[in-house]
Symmetry: C2
């Protein structure tokens, strides 16, 4: 377990002030499990809380048709300790959304970790924050991610990739495996395995095992 | 693929009228992945849509702190083709909620499938609709489920169980495997495998493989 958790945000209007904050960026047509696989696993970390943010705040609809409440807009969001950007069909338009890219750039300046699932990596790449970093993305939309920035060291076979404070994962379900790997970094192996056991999740804990690489 | 999809509901105010409807029951402190693992997988079925329902409708908070919008209340909900009841800490109080039990009983009279994840099975059992049926639940809270109705044929080792129109799964992540098994029943093996591939999900397709059974 980590020691005393001190919040780095003071202007939060939602959530606790004693926990570190993971900001999850929602947009129209985000992929459901990209968000909620990690939410389930990170929910097992006692010193962190998750807060949803979108450009305007309010209800945001996923590709699977469910609506999740974003407590913050880009304007009202505090500086998060961890920023997480999911993928989904919505990324196809969000790569052309200057407000989205600016929000990612601004948050990234002070995050401890900047994380993506699936084609969320395309947004990080388009924001220009992955240059010369090793990173991965959804294997069925890999060319889409690569096209956003050729200066990223794209990894074609990897369930997820750590490079400095950047953590990118392959498609959809890979985000759940990556989320537990981040728990291991933030705490230890036992904490990650305890969450996997509690959620009856068969964790692929080896990032080099990627059955979906072409 | 199934043939022409004809809606069995006429009083729907949300969603399409040409798709079959899966109603997912939300309550305070539902377990996030119990809901969104199946949502991700069922989202790959072209003839079905998912609609969220709660006692009052509106925003419902999961154990992991995220808020999901329920489009229907128990009063406004149409008859669903498939009813799905998740688990989570909230089930500990919901077993004593007559409105919840009555809603499950009423819906179950005309569902084609009645489904649960995790301790959602405790709610189905308490509603009395699993008598003499084989069923399973979360392995870490198995006694809690069993205590709701001793006339259920509880299965201690099973990732999920089909018995007639009733489908119950073990804890949290087991619901995602079960959801794909239901896709296989509603369509075919190829459709289930296609969704698993698209979501980069390593599907445990054998219900007898249950690494979390005591």
């Amino acid at each position: 377990m980590s020691g005393k958790a001190v919040s780095t945000t003071s202007n939060s209007t939602v959530g606790s002030t004693t926990k570190k904050q993971i900001g999850i960026v929602l947009f129209n047509q985000f992929e459901t499990l990209d968000v909620f696989g990690p939410v389930e696993m990170w929910g097992g970390m006692p010193d962190y809380e998750m807060l949803m943010v979108s450009q305007q705040g309010g209800l945001v609809r996923s590709s699977q048709g469910i609506e999740t409440q974003a407590s913050y807009s880009f304007e009202t969001a505090p500086q998060f300790d961890i920023l997480m950007v999911p993928g989904g069909m919505g990324t196809r338009s969000e790569i052309n959304n200057p407000a989205m890219l600016a929000f990612i750039q601004k948050q990234d300046k002070a995050t401890q970790w900047t994380v993506s699932v699936c084609t969320g990596a395309a947004l990080l790449a388009k924001a220009g924050i992955l240059k010369q970093r090793r990173a991965t993305s959804n294997k069925l939309a890999f060319d889409f991610a690569v096209a956003q920035d050729g200066d990223v060291l794209w990894q074609k076979q990897a369930r997820w990739v750590f490079d400095g404070k950047y953590v990118t994962s392959s498609g959809v379900s890979a985000g759940t495996d990556m989320a537990l790997a981040l728990v291991e970094k933030l705490y230890n192996r036992e904490q990650a395995e305890s969450i996997a056991h509690w959620t009856e999740y068969v964790w692929n804990s080896d990032p080099t095992i990627d059955p979906f690489a072409r």
